[in-house]
Symmetry: C2
Subunit: 369 residues, 2 copies
Amino acid sequence: MSAKGYTLTESDLVPLSIGAAFLGTGGGGNPYLGMLRTREVLRRGATARIIPLDELPDEAWVGAVGGIGAPVIGFEKIAEGGECYRAMRAIEEITGNRMSALIPVEIGGSNAMAPIIAAAMAGLPVIDGDGMGRAFPEGQMTTFSIYGGKREGPSALADDKGNVVIVKHAIDDVWRERLSRNVTVSMGAGAGAAGAPMSMDFVRRVAIPGTITQAIEIGRTVVDARATRHNVVERVVEATGGTLFYAGKVTDLKRELTGGFSRGHAVLSGIDRWAGSEGRIAIQNENLVLWVDGKPLITVPDLIINVELDTGEPLTTEVLRYGQRIAVIGLPAHDLLKTPEALKVVGPKAFGYPELDFSPLASTKKAAA
Amino acid sequence: MSAKGYTLTESDLVPLSIGAAFLGTGGGGNPYLGMLRTREVLRRGATARIIPLDELPDEAWVGAVGGIGAPVIGFEKIAEGGECYRAMRAIEEITGNRMSALIPVEIGGSNAMAPIIAAAMAGLPVIDGDGMGRAFPEGQMTTFSIYGGKREGPSALADDKGNVVIVKHAIDDVWRERLSRNVTVSMGAGAGAAGAPMSMDFVRRVAIPGTITQAIEIGRTVVDARATRHNVVERVVEATGGTLFYAGKVTDLKRELTGGFSRGHAVLSGIDRWAGSEGRIAIQNENLVLWVDGKPLITVPDLIINVELDTGEPLTTEVLRYGQRIAVIGLPAHDLLKTPEALKVVGPKAFGYPELDFSPLASTKKAAA
């Protein structure tokens, strides 16, 4: 986490998009398109200032924004660009609170960039952090929701055409997610979302800190390693504090767009030291569980990241293809996602795997230090 | 249309529910349950005053409210009662306009009673009129929408659990309907809806006048005719200015709940002077077209009303059953539904019958006068 904040430059954007795809664990929306849109906004003269969690006073209002929808849609329905901005403005109008800064709902995929675009349009800074430290498929799976700050207020959805819908009151955040998901489906399976204003005091306590900077650093590592075309995956694993869990070739792939989600699985045939074994990854927008020969090795909330074996390029769900050779990297989730309250919402059981207990990965970074 | 207004009494409710079912042409929600809920509210001491269209000043705000959903749901998911009231209050809160009266979106089915319940809860009068003079399946099919007054403002949906969703801005009323329908599906296929405040001046020009009183009068005719058990259908036809178009036995019935609508058809085998012929009625919540031996005899927006042959009881879509003996009555729609602008929205082509031209029924009432 930067103590001072910095202004995002165009040269940060490719690394940010790669790092966001990495932390997106398959989801969060296509980061390349998000990168192009952000670049366009910066080239038009807008400024994107990234500020640390300790900069603003306790009573400042912060808005969490992000895209909602199935990631596969990112290709077919290019966001118009102002969706999150219009959703955020609708929240300001209905609550009477003016935002002092925006923060990503999730750092994963294009949702690292959606708040940067909205903030640039509004002339606001973006807080270096997010509500997941990764991507998750549903809105109640943020630390903002888990630790309670967002429940009371309204949330908003805006589409590319000019429609704006407010969830004025939801009895809980699962209902808020259900209502929002259905609105998103009728908007064409993609929309910009904005949550109720949160106090900076609350955000400081519950946001996953420093994740924009973390994403940029991960992206730089991938870019640098790729330039030398040597041990790319090993260098990425080392730099991120992750562990290489599997390498294999995609032999079966199932993705269905149901209820506004991309659901399915990928089956991998092992290569190198995994030759002869079978890997399997369950997907709901994001990668949920990695099994090898039927044994679960990584589960949510820990991060399961697919990268291209030769280039280290993180692969989002919608670009997975039959025959791809991929490495599967595991990365420990932030501690805020591993409390008993959090696991109720983002643990394997919450995703429909009652037989799986969450067994946290160790950070290889900490062990090495 | 009463020139003075009156207070609704408990003895008006059964006639109102029968007349509303009649004008509902199969849809609008189960009126018997609506009647029970209204009676409950009146017995708790609330007052429901029905006022004519000319009572309030031009600048008074009027709210159109009604239930939204598939009529078959009325049986399985009993409305909690406060849905329309909460939706209306959310609109007042978001716009800052206080309502002076409510008006039914549609007079058909339980939607004749939903505004009476909401108005009684709010201590407001109900305007004697509505936006359809019947029931239609979609929200843009009101004279309020056709003649333009509602487009700008927000609309609200509230469910039985406490969720409230606002369509803050829709690019048009077809989008408003699409978004609202999806929200309703996620609320469990039934919700209370409230439109943006309309000025009394506007409502006076576009509402179908006197339909609450008309429904009560139709209901009284049915009740009286039934008491004598003699020529019930003939007497109802005569009193309403309608025409008996067909009598038959239900031999085939298809109803599917898709996208928040009850869609399907009923096939009838003719009786009496129609013996040997086949009747067919297309349904989307409401009855859309009557064909006899393949020839279209009545189409929307004119009213196609199924009543039980022996009792004159109007049959809503969800109570149609195989083997029922029914009479099919046609009634001319109000002139406000037959302008070129209106037919674009509520004519047979708008319902997916490009081959059908609207050929208006004549009123037998006028002819007799």
